[in-house]
């Protein structure tokens, strides 16, 4: 772990903490690995989603991780493009986070497919009417782009590289960032559009949805970057403190904007308490999973972070607030996917014909242990990937000796 500047007592604490985290990771990897195995051998059978609620935890996880990725990327790309000098030290870290979180999302959605082995068909016989085909194409382009940007920026910090080549590398990174911004906006909003374009689903069929997804991506991605900077930044100096203050302020604004959009999204169609959207809002707020909205999202993901961020400039507390936002954002994603599916499209369909074997013809859903297991596996995979890449490429954390990467 890259944390170093602490006292000797702190060091023993750190060692035991590292051991604990390591043990937790091994546990998660074993549980998750068993989940992966189960998924490969028996498909989606042990899931609780069904024919009537065909998308569940994994789809929510997919939009959550891809949102984190797009948000982290946009932060980095905006810094390159607009030459935001103060944010420049975190660019590579943000890019790397983007490159790690997207594969986590793709893993989840891959496992969600009934025929994973045919996924390549989206590349060789795409139907470009389909928002989903667009998504896959945009992701692929985006992943290549992120890797190219990381590679160029890696080259530019190699010792002994001549200054002219470095300038060239940096110019190229900036061009790629310019290309990447519409790409990332496209897919972050596009994931929202994937849902919003379905006229059959009233809860999703709103023009605000893609925008809401985009802002959600920015909020959660910025929160993740902020949390990681707070936790893993090598030097705890004044510059780091300033950086944390700035990130904290940005995050605060983003949480507020996201919350305003959320109010608009839920309140506008249900204000007069009539219509099916109102029923769905009631389901989110007062249904069986009310706590996902009130406790996980509103309390831990909005109110507490707002209070913490508004009250303090402590980098550690800012980091805690950011971590809360980043983690609880999953609740927002769940509350966007599931409620869209919980009411029968035709009244009485829920009782028309039942499935005594797999319970696939009901309108109730709670993620099964197996689904959580696979999610845990994806998280363990992402964490491992993260630690491998920061070991391999320690240059994601800026070396104070190195010169500025943007603004040339």
């Amino acid at each position: 772990m890259a944390v170093s500047s602490v006292s000797s007592i702190g060091t023993t604490n750190l060692v035991s903490r590292a051991r604990l985290l390591w043990a937790l990771w091994v546990l998660a990897a074993i549980i998750g690995g068993l989940g992966f195995l189960e998924r490969l051998l028996h498909g989606d059978q042990a899931t609780d989603f069904s024919s009537y609620i065909p998308w569940g935890l994994w789809v929510a996880a997919y939009i959550y991780f891809s949102g984190l990725s797009a948000g982290a990327f946009l932060l980095a790309a905006a810094t390159y493009v607009f030459r935001i000098r103060v944010l420049e030290p975190i660019c590579r870290l943000a890019l790397l986070l983007a490159a790690v979180t997207l594969p986590m999302g793709l893993l989840m959605i891959g496992f969600d497919l009934g025929h994973l082995e045919r996924a390549y068909l989206i590349i060789i016989r795409p139907q470009f009417h389909s928002m989903m085909a667009w998504m896959v194409w945009l992701y692929t382009a985006y992943l290549i782009l992120v890797v190219a940007m990381l590679w160029l920026s890696f080259k530019s910090v190699q010792p002994g590289r001549n200054p002219e080549a470095v300038t060239n590398d940096r110019a190229r990174v900036r061009v790629l960032a310019i290309i990447g911004i519409p790409l990332a906006i496209g897919f972050a909003g596009g994931v929202g559009a994937l849902f919003a374009t379905l006229a059959a689903r009233e809860f999703w069929h709103s023009s605000l949805f893609p925008i809401f997804f985009l802002v959600g991506a920015l909020t959660s991605g910025t929160a993740l970057v902020t949390a990681v900077v707070s936790w893993q930044w090598p030097s705890r100096d004044a510059a780091w403190k300033d950086l944390m203050t700035l990130l904290g302020r940005m995050l605060l604004v983003l949480i507020l904007i996201d919350f305003i959009l959320e109010l608009a999204e839920f309140m506008t169609p249900s204000w007069y308490q009539i219509g099916s959207f109102y029923e769905l809002t009631r389901y989110v707020l007062f249904g069986p999973y009310w706590y996902v909205f009130w406790l996980v999202h509103l309390l831990l993901g909005v109110l507490v972070p707002i209070l913490l961020l508004a009250k303090t400039r402590s980098p550690v507390i800012t980091g805690v607030a950011a971590a809360l936002v980043a983690v609880t954002f999953f609740a927002v994603r769940l509350n966007l996917v599931i409620p869209g599916l919980i009411t029968p499209e035709l009244r009485g369909l829920e009782k028309a014909y039942s499935d005594p074997i797999g319970n696939r013809l009901i309108f109730a859903y709670f993620p099964s242990w197996f689904e959580w297991q696979v999610l845990l596996g994806a998280i363990a995979f992402g964490v491992a990937l993260w630690y491998v890449v920061i070991r391999l490429f320690p240059w994601v954390f800026p070396n104070p000796a190195q010169s500025s990467e943007v603004g040339q």
């Binding site: 490969l40 051998l41 028996h42 498909g43 989606d44 059978q45 069904s50 024919s51 009537y52 065909p54 998308w55 969600d112 497919l113 009934g114 025929h115 994973l116 082995e117 045919r118 996924a119 068909l121 989206i122 016989r125 795409p126 139907q127 009417h129 389909s130 928002m131 989903m132 085909a133 896959v136 994937l194 374009t197 379905l198 006229a199 059959a200 689903r201 869209g340 599916l341 029968p344 499209e345 035709l346 009244r347 009485g348 369909l349 009782k351 028309a352 014909y353 499935d355 005594p356 074997i357 797999g358 319970n359 696939r360 013809l361």
Partner: protein, 296 residues
Amino acid sequence: MDRRSFLKLGGLIGGALGAADLLVIGDALANPTADRITSLPVLDRVKAEPGEDVLIRMQRDLVRAMNKGIEKRRWGMVIDTRKCVGCHSCNVGCIMENKLPPGVVYRPVIDQEVGSYPNVGRRFLPRPCMQCENPPCVPVCPVKATWKRPDGVVVIDYNVCIGCRYCITACPYQARTFDFGENWDSKAASGNDGGLALQTCRKYGQEPSFEYGAIWRRGEGVIPKSPVGNARKCTFCLHRLEHRQLPMCVTTCIGRATLFGDLNDPTTLVSQQATRNNAVSLKPELGTKPKVSYLL
């Protein structure tokens, strides 16, 4: 003509044509223009009579339609809710015909209670795929695994579908279900008849389905055998139509409440019923233009 002779007649027609057709069906599906001109002389000898069973009339309509090119016919269905008694025979017939596993259903019969106690009534709404003229389930598919045929039937290519279930979320009638790979034998009845139940369920699980005129043997596994892992839906029994047989649900309906035929031909029973002023379609406001309508 009484019921028994009709059944015999059906057997004759089915037997004769069935054998001859088996080989060509795959072709006809892969290549719609390979549709053949066929006639049923047996049926010609049964003169149309007033008051004859609607099944015979529809059988005639069906043969006539099948003798046209695929792009000239447009299959449709009319369900008379006043005649439907809610017996679920159509659903059961469909399940048996297509060897549907648990969790997959093409034609559930929705039982709706209307009014409030004590002033209540029931009405039944069998819900096949509407075979929408403008199907929202088609453009969402990322791999072009589902499309509308020239005769208006919306089909799924089981060998291409990646099982993303996007189409399932896009259908406003929830007419698509997902094959999770489950089988009836996994929770077969226990007790005295347990053994028999288990044996029967196992046997059922091994029966192939002939959807789309091919032979499908399901199976789960690292690479599931389609249609496991696919979206599935009502096909208007295309494989039976190729044999000049009416869709299974039409033949098992005890109330003669389900009518089927070519909507392009104004003389068919189904065309005449579909244009009555008590014919309605579900969710017309969405513009999906269902080819299944209901008589109220």
